[in-house]
Structures are given as structure tokens and as C-alpha cells.
């Protein structure tokens, strides 16, 4: 058995999550193996609590089982599973061993394995969203709002195709990410709200609980209510898979927004652009042989994590298929899915840290803006010419900009000298001319 995190094979365990006390405090109960076992024990306890409420067993029994659930040892469950090769039966056996003979029969009564597994999973995913990702993303959104406000009037050249286009402010560029992030937070919240459990027994037919109750669906609803969950609209051995599919889609598409932001920031750090910078710590080393390098490694890391996790959505989609009332071929695969939560949380936290200290170089933004500032007159000139009736303003401007680039002269001067254009410009109203002047730089 591993003695240190360096014996692990997952970069999450040895590098990105395991050593991160802050993130672990937020997510451990929902993403670790220990968290899985304890949440499953919690479902078992919730079921017995409702059995007691309905008079099938005593409240004392329910208390006993609840205590056993809280104290469940993942090690013991693992050892029992190694013996009998069934994970939920192992949990049940361990819990039964902790309670009185009176209580023993009520542990797992009326439940099938996937009542416990899927319900506990829904609870963990929902809690990870409510307590982990949503607050984290809200924090990132606030950092971006603050930054956008700070940079609201900071002129920047807008870029399409990596080419200078028309003027924006840096704050404007950031506001787009605020909006997109807000949309994703809402998507995560909706998907988390929609996660459901099931206490419908083997193949979802309520065969077991119907032996005890005339209203097995009410029994199901009561057990799930103990955990703050609703029942799946339908279920087989498992809940409807689409609830989880939607949830991971919300996460993966959120990851895409982060990666897009990171991509923009690292390109703005290119030596030739240099409009923004990650704050460097005093002791930080940029390159092992090139001591002068200051790499945008945090933004690169976010892009890279997205590349690692985005394709896993294929697994989630593949797991929508389960033969008949279910086959187990989505069991091992779905165990890996919560890694997506951890990868995303790591990237959100990283961006919070970096974006809240983002350095802007106003001078460079101005210089870059002015590189082609003559050219930004092209768009308003074209529009005013068109508005004043020039029959082919776009073509006229295309030729003049070509001429400006060849000659190195300012575009505006060429426009003013052009006799063919004069009649249309004279018609230009004050507002329009002012606009063009505004863009002359």
C-alpha cells in the first residue's frame, strides 16, 4: 500500500489536489473514496430512519444504524469487499457488525445496491456543486467583475484572427467572460438541482419495498428527503443517466470558458504583445536554462487541464447506454468521473489566484493600439461613405487601405486626399466626423 503521495499514479493525488489543503477541505467528502463510503453509509442510515418512522423498526435501531454509518471505516469495507467481491454487501456487512442483533436485519432492508450507490452519488455531486464549484466560480466571477471595472476605460485594440481589428477596452473584453461564467454557474446550479436518487429496489420495480408498504414511491420520497434529494422520474436498477450527463456537461462547458480565458491571457503575455502579466514571486524560476524567461505557466496549465478533462465527456456519453435494466459496464468508468470536479476546481482556484493579481501594462496596450491606428479609421469611413450613398464604399476603402499599407502613409490622409470620396465626406454629419476623429488615435 502506498506510503506517501509520491507513490500515487494520478497527478490529482500527488500534485494538483492531494497536497492542496484548502481545496481538500472544500471537496474531500464528495470526491474521495472515503467520502464515497461514508455517503453510502449515510443512505443506508436514512433508509432505516424512515423504516423506524413508519414503525417497521424502533427508533433505537435507527439510532444504532446512524451511529454505525458515521463510524464506517473505509479500510474495513475494502477488506470485506476483497473477501466477498461485492462493494455494497461489504458495506452492509461492516455496518451490521457494528450494531446489535436486533438492528442487523434492518440494515439494507428494501434496498438494492444501486439504490445506495446512485443516491449517494447524486448527493455527493450535488453537494460538490453547492459547496465547492458554485461558490468557487462565483468568487472567480467577482474577481473578473472587479478587474473589468478597473479596466473599464483601458483602451485596447480588438483582435480577430490575431489581427488588429477595431477599438475596444480591456474591461469590455473581460465583461464577456463575466457573462459567460454567469451562464455556466446557472447551468451547474440547474443540473445539480436536477440530480435525483432512487429507492426503487432491484430493476426499479419497487418489488422489495412493495412487500412492506402500499406506497413504495412515498417511502422512496421520504428516504430521499432525508438527504435533500428528489426521486428520479423513472428508474431501472439505476437512475435516469441523463441527470448525470447534464451535470458533467455543465462542468465541461464551464471548463471551456476557463480555457478560453486562459488562452486569451497567455497570448496577451506574448513577448511581442506583453499587455498583461502573471505576478511573479521573488524566488520564482522561469526557465532552467534561460534565467530571463517569465512564462505564463498558470494559464498554460488551465488550458492543459482542459485538454486532459474535456475528452472525458465521451465516457459520460457512452455511459448513457446500459443494457436492459442495467449492465455493470458503466461502473468502473463512472468512478473516474468525479476527477472532472477536482480538475475543474483546481483550475478555478488557479484562475482566482492569478486573475486577482493580473498586471496590465497600459503603456504597451497604448503602443499596440497605435501600431495600426491609422487603419482603424477604415471601418467608420466605410460606414459613413456607405451611409452617404457611396455605391461601393467597401471596395473603395479596401483599395485605399492596400495603398496605405504599401506606401506607409496614414489612411486618413489618403481618404481626405481622395477626390472621388470627397462628395460623400462633405455630406458627413458632425456626429459622424467626430466619430472618425475619435478613431484617428
Amino acid at each position: 500500500m502506498s506510503e506517501s503521495r509520491f507513490d500515487n499514479v494520478s497527478p490529482l493525488d500527488f500534485r494538483y489536489y492531494g497536497p492542496d489543503e484548502k481545496l481538500r477541505a472544500l471537496l474531500d467528502p464528495y470526491v474521495t473514496e472515503k467520502g464515497r463510503v461514508l455517503s453510502e453509509a449515510m443512505v443506508e442510515a436514512a433508509a432505516v430512519r424512515v423504516l423506524a418512522r413508519r414503525g417497521v423498526c424502533s427508533e433505537t435501531v435507527a439510532d444504532e444504524v446512524a451511529a454505525a454509518a458515521d463510524g464506517t471505516s473505509p479500510e474495513e469495507v475494502a477488506q470485506e469487499e476483497a473477501r466477498i467481491h461485492h462493494n455494497i454487501r461489504a458495506l452492509v456487512n461492516v455496518m451490521r457488525s457494528q450494531v446489535s442483533d436486533e438492528a442487523k436485519p434492518y440494515v439494507h432492508l428494501c434496498l438494492t445496491s444501486f439504490d445506495v450507490i446512485d443516491t449517494a452519488a447524486a448527493w455527493r455531486l450535488q453537494q460538490a456543486a453547492y459547496n465547492g464549484m458554485i461558490p468557487q466560480l462565483a468568487e472567480l466571477q467577482q474577481v473578473l467583475i472587479d478587474l473589468a471595472r478597473r479596466e473599464a476605460d483601458q483602451i485596447q485594440i480588438g483582435r480577430t484572427h490575431g489581427q488588429h481589428a477595431v477599438p475596444i477596452t480591456f474591461g469590455f473584453a473581460l465583461v464577456g467572460f463575466v457573462s459567460r461564467l454567469g451562464g455556466r454557474i446557472e447551468a451547474i446550479r440547474m443540473a445539480a438541482d436536477n440530480l435525483c436518487g432512487k429507492i426503487s429496489g432491484a430493476v426499479g420495480a419497487y418489488n422489495a419495498s412493495a412487500l412492506f408498504f402500499d406506497d413504495p414511491d412515498e417511502f422512496e420520497a421520504e428516504v430521499l428527503a432525508e438527504l435533500g434529494l428528489k426521486a428520479s422520474p423513472s428508474s431501472t436498477q439505476i437512475v435516469e443517466p441523463e441527470q448525470v450527463t447534464d451535470y458533467y456537461h455543465a462542468l465541461i462547458s464551464t471548463f471551456g470558458v476557463l480555457a478560453d480565458l486562459a488562452d486569451d491571457m497567455r497570448h496577451l503575455q506574448r513577448t511581442e504583445i506583453a499587455e498583461v502579466g502573471e505576478e511573479f514571486e521573488a524566488d520564482q524560476v522561469g526557465s532552467s536554462t534561460m534565467p530571463h524567461k517569465r512564462n505564463p505557466w498558470n494559464f498554460e496549465n488551465v488550458k492543459s487541464m482542459w485538454k486532459a478533462f474535456m475528452p472525458r465527456m465521451v465516457t459520460v456519453y457512452a455511459d448513457q447506454l446500459s443494457e436492459h435494466q442495467r449492465d455493470l459496464s458503466n461502473s468502473a468508468s463512472s468512478r473516474f468521473n468525479p476527477e472532472i470536479i477536482v480538475g475543474l476546481a483546481n483550475s478555478v482556484q488557479r484562475l482566482v489566484r492569478i486573475m486577482s493579481k493580473l498586471v496590465t501594462d497600459e503603456e504597451r496596450m497604448k503602443q499596440n493600439f497605435e501600431m495600426t491606428s491609422g487603419m482603424v479609421a477604415a471601418e467608420p469611413a466605410y460606414i459613413l461613405l456607405a451611409a452617404h450613398g457611396h455605391p461601393d464604399a467597401h471596395e473603395a476603402m479596401r483599395k485605399l487601405t492596400l495603398q496605405a499599407q504599401t506606401s506607409g502613409r496614414m489612411l486618413w490622409d489618403l481618404i481626405c486626399e481622395d477626390e472621388e470620396l470627397a462628395p460623400y465626406l462633405d455630406k458627413g454629419d458632425a456626429a459622424g466626423s467626430a466619430s472618425i476623429h475619435r478613431h484617428r488615435g
Copy 2:
């Protein structure tokens, strides 16, 4: 240029969609190249209509442009694009060539390419959902509802891991798909409702329209309202990508439900199971060398189409990233996305056809159910033993079922003969015993 559909390389064009008159009547305006060009011309016309309403040009001009839009020839646009290498400018040039000199300047005034491209795309995707996929899926859902009603009492053995588990009815199995399909229809509707356009100009900064109007966002809203669309909460050169990401997620996750249904049906057609069958036409050939074969090829086809289209979601996720105010590296890729609509529509239509004629073999369902009918007593017996205080009912039943399998004797007989179990069974209440009896088969 291709002379027949057999010169095409896409199976959609030569096989699954091109020859399907019914599907083409439903989707052509939203998924073909012709549909793309015409919808983009429609956006250009809508913008001029609002310019006229706002007094920038006359209504006559707007009428002229609208007529030009309706009559746009994709061939001419393609020829012009081959000349100037810019697709929207090509469209604009062709439209301008169809209108009077007075109208010419107003075509594309205040618009940037992606105002037209993204707005037209949102309109096409939305219409494809409203007019194509949602009605189709509702039809499939109705077919499944009818079938579920017909088979509501048809006993079937529930299967987990491909193994006989506990009893269900075939109707119950189908109801799960009704519910899941209903959830997906709702997901498609929400995603389609959320598709937005943009008329915010180059890099989304309203630089152009602000030259004309004090309320450029109102201008945007008016143009989009002409098409039944809302404005994107934020935009750069392009709308927020997540609107489209969510849309395709809704489609791809719907495809997963279809594939799961198809998988179940084709396994139920296995020679050894043979509980259902696709209706065979009289002239149909099952195998080129094995004349006796009756293959579940329609269900196999649906599974296969899902395998072809599901991974394309990776492209959609990758296209969330676009550098700065956009780069064009999501242009070609996004042209392929509507193929997902066509692939899905083909599979929905196929399932409507096959499921509405699905043949059930009641006799085989009964035979299969009885194969292990002695064993289905195991679950209720275990539960009643536990409910009546047996300290380890699961283990007791596990051993008895092993004994039943080894000896070939009926499980129920072994249970009744077991002296250790007798005290717990005697305690059994009437309802419980009745339940067990119900399951004796």
C-alpha cells in the same frame, strides 16, 4: 461538379438524407448549404427593414432588399466567393447587384460578417428544433407510450448484467424510455429557446451602429425580433459559444437515449432470447449467403449512427475557445455541426418506423421468464426473512440458491424444507406470503 448523389462522399448526402424526401421537406431550409445562404440573406434583409423603420432608408429600399434576399442564388454567391475569398462579402455583392443604386449602400450597413453568420445560424438551429426534431421526438415518444400501454401487463424477466434478475413487465421497461425521452425533448426546447443572435458589429462593440443610433442595443434587439430571436447576453465578433454548446449537448444526449433503446431491442432479438422482432418486408433479404438470417439491422444502424455522431461533441467543446475577439479556427469545424441534426433526425425517424411495428413474442417472454423462475423467489424470501428478524438472511439465501443451482431443485422447495429458516417464515404475515407466492411462477 457532382452530377448525382453517388458522386458525394458523405453518407448523409448519398444515403441517409439526400434521398429521403420526407426528412428533407422537414429540414432542408436549416441544414443545407442553400438553406444557409438564404437564411443569411434573410438576416441582411431584416437589418435593412429596421433601418427603414428608423428612417435611415426608405421602405422601398427595404422591400427591394427583401426581394433580393428571397431570390438569392447560392450558385452566384459561390462564384463570387471563389473570386474574392470572403463568403459574406460575396453574399452582399450578389444582393447589391440585384437592387437599385439607391438601395445598394444599405445592404450590410452596420453589420459585420458574424452578425449575419451567427444570427442566421441561431435561427436555423432553432427552427430545426421547433419544426424538425421536437415534433419528431414527440412522435417517437407517442409510439413508445402506445407500445408501453399495449405491453403494460406483459410479464418479462428484468435483466441486470445480462442475467435474469426480478420480474418486470415489458411495458415497464418501455416507460423508462418514455420518461427519458421526455426529459430530452425538454432539454432541446430549452436549449433552442436560448439560442441568440447578435447585431453588435465588429468585435461586439457596436462601433458601427453607434455611428447611427444612440441605442445600438435597441437596434440589435429590433433586427433580431424580426427573426424571432433575442440578443446574446454578451458578444464579441461572435455570440457566446455556450448557447450552441448546450444545444448540441441536448442533441447528443438525446442520441444516447435512442442508442440505449436500440441496444436493448437488438439484444432482445438475439436468437436465444427472441422476445421482440423488427417486422420484415416480404422481399427483404437478411443475409447474402445465409438466406435464413433476420437481422436487427435498423437497431444496429441507430447504435452505429450514435457512434458516428457522439464523438463530434468534442469538436463542439473545442470550438468554445476562440482567441481574443475571435479567430476563425472554429469556422470550418462548425460548418459540420448541423450534420448532427441530420444524423439524429434519421435515427428518430427510423425508430418511429420500427418501434411502431415492433413484434412481441409473448410465448418466448413467458418461456424466458420461467427459465429461472424458481430463483426469483430469492429476493422476496431474503427480504421477509430479514424483516422477521433473521440475523443474516442474505447469506442464508445465497447458500440456498447455490444449492438450488447445483441440485437443480426448485429454490422455494429448499426454502420450505430448511429448518433454520422455518421460525422466520412462520412469522411471515399474509401479505408477505402472498407476495412470495406471486413470485413462485
Copy 3:
């Protein structure tokens, strides 16, 4: 920091690999974080060894560095990295702290970070193939060969589309997997052989080593030879990515063969087919509520692991792109790739265990074969009729099989009674008739 494996988030670390002493003995040096650090230290030591051989430093220095490399503590490297935020510089600092002042300057001399990272990675992947996966796969292949020999004459019905087709033997079915597995072992070997290192310095330009040597590429070759590696045909800051792409393709496509085998085996375990079975241990529990269930969970697990790991190839393909002489956005992502090795190794080992104890039910194979045994006469009958000049043998047989299915009569009897066919059957030569008889069952 994690205290037990149950605090981990990766199922590999807490479940599928961490607790598996046998697999860890095979793979730990190549897949854990500790293995990574030690292999990178080994590359540093190899470079100094060659510096000494070339007279740049003394052999004593090289010995010192080699000792420091062997004793490198991953914990200390991690602590230093937390301070300076550069992983290779951290390793260098730790190694330097272990050697004399004389030796200090030679650690990492002439190397850039990725000389160390990529070379060590190539070594680890190559060794994991040579010492781990190839021997494991050879063992699995041998298990399948033995099984195929044992089942060489075991008649089984061949199945296409899940439908009974024509006769095979179970051994024949297995031989296909032996061949495919052999092809994949060869593919892994070729890809592993082709993994290269680089000692070409920053951006691959040999700028640093060219300050010392006239033959920097010879220096590179000598360092790599210490590790049994060749130099990449070209390199930038990194080796040509395709070497690693090919390697993981070989693994992922091998995983596909395992998943296909597992899929076949679990379907052959279906209750209605029941031709094979996983051996169950005496204490094993099949279901938590259905004590009679015997699930093919090991085969399901292999299919499921394939679903978890196959999509990761998308990440590997995405990492072929690295801007200019490299950007770091393939760094975090590539740290996850060795998990593919671990996932594959787990599945190979599982199949070795299960397939070597696979139980065949000869009686069921015979029963299943006979279910439609009348029908298997269709193919040879059709062929002989055609061979003897029947103008449309396929159509004739198609109708007769339809008639046989409707009437429940044996196909062969219908053939013999058919007057239209008689002239062609009379022409049948002895061999042909014998063949048909062979298939009458």
C-alpha cells in the same frame, strides 16, 4: 497530505492499482510520481557521466552526481518546487545540495528542462512496455492459446447480428483474439522501440552544448545511449510528439481488443445463452438483494475501463500541437497519460485471471447450436444449388427458410421435398452432399 489511499480521488490510486502489490512491483518505477523524479535524476546523472568521459569534469564528480540521483527524495524536490515554482530547477537544486562544491556546476550543465523531462519520459514509457505490458500481454495471449487448443473442437454456433449464423468451434472464435492480440503486441513493441530522447538544449538548437563540443549531436547520442535510447530525428524544446502519439495509439487499440473479447464473453454468459462462466469464489456475493445472481462483473469491468480510457486518446492527439518551439499547454495533460498504462495493465491482468479459469458449458453450447440447426443447412444448400446452375438459388432458399420458420418443419426436409430443386441436388457431388450432411446436426 493524504494519510491513506482512501483519501485519494483516483480510482487507480485507491482501488485498481494502489492496493495491487503484484502490478505495482511491475510498474511503479515507470508510472508513479516517485518514478518520474528518480528517472529524471537518472538523466541528469547520465549527462554528467558523459561530461566526465569527455573530460569536462572528473569521474569523481560523475560518481557524486550518480549517487545523488539514486538518493533523490521526491518529497524534497516537491518542497523546493513549492518554493521556486519550477520542477526541473527544483530537482537540480536538490541534487546540487547533495554534492560537493566542485560537482555543483556540472549538474544540469548543457541541459534544458525538457532534455530531462522528455528523455526520462521516453525511458519510462519504453520500460513500462518492455517490462510491464508486453510480458503481461504475452501471458494473456498464451492463456488464450491454451484455451483455444482446449476448445478447438468444441462446436459452437457462429453469430452475426446476435443471430445464429453458421457453425464454428469455440476454439476458432478464440483464435481470432490470439491473432489480434499478437498484432497489438507487435504494435506496442514497435512504438516503444521508436521512443526517443533529446539532449539538444533549449528549443532544440544545441546552443548550449555547442559551446562545449564541436559535435553536440554526438554528445546527445552518448548521453541517450547511457539510457538505451536514441535521439529524436528532430526536436524543438521537446521531442517529436508523434513518437508518444503512436505509443498511446498502440495501447488504446490494444485496449479495444480486450474490450471486444470481454464483450463477447459477457454476452456468452447471458442467462439465455450461458455458454461460458467466470469461476465464482465460494464466498463471493453476486448481488446485494438477489442472492442468486452471478454477474460477469470482471468482463463488465474491462469494458468499462476501456470506456474510461479510450477517449483520452483525444488528449494525446491534442498534445501534438505545441506553439512554436513549444508552449506548456501539454504539460499538465501529459502527466495524466501514464494512467492509460495502469488502466490497461489492470485489465490485462484481470483477463489473465478470468480467462485462465473460464468455464465452458458444453451442453449449453450444443443445445444452442441445435436451436436453429435446421437452418444452418441453408448456406451450403444455397451454394450447392448455385454451383449446380440453379439460376436464383438465394431467392429459392430465402423462401424455403421463411416456410420452415412459419411451419416449424426442418429446412432440410423442405429442401428434399422441393421438386424445383431436385434436378440441381441430384447433380450434387459426393463431397458436397457430405458437407450438407455434416451440417444437418
Copy 4:
């Protein structure tokens, strides 16, 4: 049925391939539906040719069938398939209708559908590689070789993380792509050589041909030799899937190299970098509203096509799984795979066109190089200090570069003024100093 290519839904058919006469001349027989039908007819004819050679039928019959194969009409086959719902039987029926009664029985004799389908597919994929992609890629490689020679001495700043690193030449940067492309051409060739056919009958058991021949595997080899193919090492109803998996991996990984090249080129075209440019045609329009824009749209297109096609490898991997002797759920999906060939060929051709006219701006390369030219002294200085025994050269240089950046002074001046460094620099040999001087710029 579609009347023009604008009624198609695939961008390949209406935009990227359909209108491209040059590419169609190269690939049509291997990628269109017509090509599929004709190649399958060719396999049917080859089989009859061998039957004749072996005396089963006359050479006249073989000639008749060969003529029928050449003249097969895809339209007629499609019509027949619409009637009988079996594609190969439809082909067979159409071919039979074209030959004499004597010849009719020999069409498709001894073959199963997938003997024809898989063998014809192997032939098409192989020919597409030999006649299409390999010559195309060789042409691109030659363009890059010529360009690399032209730019062999063109100084350029090497970039890692988008940051200036150490000097290279532009030719050096290109040579890496020459090497990687060479590796991929070799990979495609190997994979194409390894594509195999099969004439082993239903489920690969030679049941049919064994009725006629004692050496059915020899018969198979002879038929395949007619088409220049070998037999698959093993087969079921289908050939070993890995042959095709490897083939598409070779294509997809080649696409990755193209995308990486395109990415580098488009970033070098950024306004602030501007080291290279796509040649613009005189009439070309860069932007519909910004007449001054010159977008790297061809390189963006290549990146975008890669994003569209790369994920399809997931489908190819999924198709390695086929139940038992095969199920049809990889039929529709595999029909889409040849689109990968077309997408790749389009991108190769585009890069040939653009790279052969690539414009380099020597002045900008020099300016960019000099932006941080003081800093490139850092690496050689660090190395020489270390080589001459400085105990912590890296740290010393890290501090000096920080100082240079803060003060705006030249790094080399700071180095020379530093008293602590002086003793180590005095030891510097001539070569080393010369090297540093070389890099002072």
C-alpha cells in the same frame, strides 16, 4: 433527390471537395459512393476470375462478370437495395441481371457480404493512400524542404511559452516539420501496406469455399492477389479491425502535424509579430466591414478541419468492438470514415498552396529578434559561468536579468560590471567569449 451541390448537407460535398476538380480526380474512385459500388463489383469479378482459373466456371463467364462489374450503375444498385434492404445482395442482383443465365450462378458464389465489403474497403483505402495522400504529402514535404533551404540562415527568435527564448533560424523551425511529416508519410505507408482483405466466407470459417476447394485459404489468397491485397491474419465475418484502426490513426496523427504547422504560421502572422504572411490575391476581401484586415484564414481553416476530424478517431476505436462474429453496429459509422481522407487531403492541398507562396518579412524577424536581444546572452553566460566553476550561476543570472528588466539596461553590460562574476569570466576561453559575442546581437 438533390439537384445541385447546394442541396447537400456535408461541407465536403458542397464546399471543400465537391467543387474541387483536382482533388476529385485524385480521390473519387476511393471515397465516393460510386467508387464504393464499383470497387465492390470489382471484388465480385475477381472472385469469378479465380473460379474460372480453377475450372469451376468458364473464362467466358468470368469475362461476362468482369464486364458487368465495370458497367455497374450505382443508381440501379440503390433502387434494388430500396426494394430488398440488403446492399450486397442488391449489387449481386444487378450484376446477375447483366449476365447470361450460364454466368448468373457464379456471381457471389462462395462469398459472404463482408468478403466483398471489407476487401473492397481495404482496396479503396490502400489506393487512396498510394495515389492520393502519400503523393500529396510528399509534395507538401518538398515545399517545406524548399522553404527551409531558402530560410536556412534567416535568424529568428526561438519561442517557448510564447516568450522569446534563444536564437534559431526560420529554416530550423521548418525542418522540424519536414522530419515529422516524413515520419507520418512512413506511418501511412506502413498502415496502407498492412490493409488486408478476406474471402473466408460467413463468420470467417471458409464453410462455403471449403465445399469447393481443399485449399480455401489458397483460393482466398488468389482472389485477393487479383486486387494486390493480402489476406487478413484472421477474420470472422470481418477482417481484423485493427488494420483500419492503424490506418486512420496514421491519418489523424498526420492531421495533427498539419494543424501544428498551421497554428505556428497563423501566430507568426499576428499583427504584433508579422513575420510571415499568406499571399493575398488582388481581389481578395479580408473582412466584410474592416477593409484593412488580412486574415490568416487558410491556416485557420486547417486548424479548424483538424478540430472537425480528429475526434472521429473515437468512432474508429469504438468500431474495434463487434459482438461475436460481428454485429452491424459498425456499419453506418464506418461509412463516414473515408470523410477523414477527404478532410485531410483538402488540408494538405491547402498547405501546399499557401506554404509554397509564404511571404517572410526579414525586417520584422530582425526587429523581433532584437526586442530582447540583450536577454539572449543569459543562457550562454549562465553556462560559461557554470562551466568555469561558479557555484550557483543560474541564480546569479536570474537576479541580473531581473535587474536588467527593471533598469532597462543591457544584460551584457550588467554582467561585465558584476565584480562577483569577473573571476569566472576571465577564465572564459576564447570560444566561449566568441559565442557570447555572437549572441550579443
